[in-house]
Amino acid sequence: MQEIKNYTINFGPQHPAAHGVLRLVLEMDGETVVRADPHIGLLHRGTEKLAESKPFNQSIGYMDRLDYVSMMCNEHAYVRAIETLMDIQVPERAQYIRTLFDEITRILNHLMWIGSNALDLGAMAVFLYAFREREELMDCYEAVSGARLHATYYRPGGVYRDLPDTMPQYKQSRWHKGADLNRRNAWREGSMLDYLDAFTDDFPHRVDEYETLLTDNRIWKQRTVGIGVVSPEQALAWGMTGPMLRGSGIEWDLRKKQPYAMYDKMDFDIPVGVQGDCYDRYLVRVAEMRQSNRIIQQCGAWLRANPGPVIVRNYKVAPPRREEMKQSMEALIHHFKLFTEGYGVPAGETYAAVEAPKGEFGCYLVSDGANKPFRVHLRAPGFAHLSSMDAIVKGHMLADVVAMIGTYDVVFGEIDR
């Protein structure tokens, strides 16, 4: 009789459904997965070590490049760790702006996720729909920071600048003209908050559109219902956080349980799943987009009514204003010292965590009192999630592995660091 052996295949690192650079060694019995061994680290840049050789502020930009679809949430964890060690009180308006942008980031991330996950599972159209709204939100990133992705907007002590009073408008071109141009510019007549108001009024209908495409879609349900079931016990044991944990029915959200920034003043709900399968996690993420939309509206209303400073006036950590530097020698010296030497952070250690779109993103910071961190460790949610791959995917079909990678919402910038 012919001997039948298990077959080992390499999935990735150049596979479009591998979401970047995941090399997955799969041992297959026919089309069933017997063992999955993810090989990671192909995008390892040593961010933590690089941060040890630079003054604190110069590493904020690295944080954007970790989870490069939820940029500002990563910055938030890092600056919160510095603020805890230095004992800085951040102005209220800056806290509201951070809350606002954390939620914009969450929508950006979930839009990327819904588009790419649907694309992996064969639904092409959702990707195009999701990128339409992503474009609108990235314009907000660009308006406050000048960069569409890697913003470096949060700083220890606040945010770099206040929200702009105007939004850039589209100019007439071969691609934008006539009624289309007017429609695009109609939202951009006023300030960024007006623009966000228009966006948040419109966005729930857009989410309805994605749901029309997917929620009752027969193929979508065949690919996700009952696939990758994670029990609540498993979710806890594997250190899962964010939608992975909530999809299994555990109501745990740092924004509610250990509130930071202005989340304790926000009115929003935590959606949870029941079955803990890919479909439930899809529903949780879609519901989260709607909740984020509510938070953006609340932040917008407050920010409109309460002008004020957006960064502390402590020149050891925040630069003085440009106008001041033209007049005052002191201000010029502060500026020079801040951007050349940086600032010393009192010796000690802290762990600051935020509820990033993918789960708990934490920053463990050890300082020995110098102007550079002694040790920075970044706790990436995707790292813990992906490590459970073998346990969850065992016994599934090859095509379900793709569904599972999609539902983990992996981004290798943060996993490999």
Binding site: S53, I250, G362, A384, S388
Partner: protein, 243 residues
């Protein structure tokens, strides 16, 4: 929440007092120091007992304390020619592989730090364990308690060379296949020790000692006693006491 963490520290002290080195609360965070021989027992108690219920292991990471608190640019003494410059420090950008700092008599260089979360009681705790031997740091593995420790410990082994006793599959995880050394140790140069390039003649990628980068420091490490920061903090503390 601060009252909660205070009582958590007291509860840990009361329950596990003889098995831990110490508990402290700093900045509202509870930190427990444990010896390697009690590491598993303490972790198990924190996971299973009803008053703790730390069901989630959030993070494991290593810390290398070589050169802790050392400066590269001494700014305390001023001479007639200015500040003393270019102090021979052990900062990560200062040296290449040949001139790497050797760990001296400094004891207990490596530590493993673990963050736990209790979903049931909504609290966090940080455990720290210094490995007793600097040359071969060994710490018991937490994989039997939390499966997620698997990858976190592999990462710590890869980057720091801390060996986890009882780990089922202690392979490298983040660095390249066939990598030599533990890059996050403080005596590992920031520029690395090998670089790769494609060799036309051999028709394959080859590894060579680093020549294209020179070690350099753009901003020296300084430790200053920042008077204005200290003053601001003192004022803030005084304000708090008044209110």
């Amino acid at each position: 929440m601060s009252a909660d963490t205070a009582t958590l520290a007291q509860r840990i002290e009361a329950r596990l007092g003889e098995r831990i080195v110490g508990v402290c609360v700093s900045r509202g965070e509870t930190v427990v120091d444990v010896l390697p021989e009690n590491w598993l027992a303490v972790a198990r108690a924190l996971r299973d007992e009803d008053e703790f219920k730390f069901a989630q292991l959030i993070d494991v990471c290593g810390v290398d304390y070589l050169g802790y608190g050392q400066v590269e640019w001494d700014t305390t003494d001023v001479t007639a020619t200015g500040f003393s410059r270019g102090v021979e420090g052990e900062g990560p950008g200062r040296f290449d592989w040949a001139e790497r700092p050797r760990s001296g008599a400094g004891h207990r260089r490596f530590a493993v730090v673990v963050q736990l979360t209790s979903v049931a009681h909504n609290c966090r705790v940080r455990l720290r364990c210094h490995a007793s031997d600097d040359a071969l740091p060994v710490v018991p593995s937490l994989v039997p308690l939390w499966p997620v420790a698997d990858w976190f410990e592999r990462e710590t082994f890869d980057l720091f060379g801390i060996v986890f006793e009882g780990h089922p599959d202690l392979r490298r995880i983040l660095t390249d296949y066939g990598f030599v050394g533990h890059p996050f140790r403080k005596d590992f140069p920031l520029i690395g020790n090998v670089e790769v390039r494609y060799d036309e003649a051999l028709g394959r990628v080859i590894y060579e000692p680093v020549t294209s980068v020179v070690p350099r420091v753009l901003v020296p490490r300084t430790l200053r006693h920042d008077s204005s920061l200290e003053q601001a903090q003192a004022e803030q503390a005084a304000d708090l006491q008044k209110s």
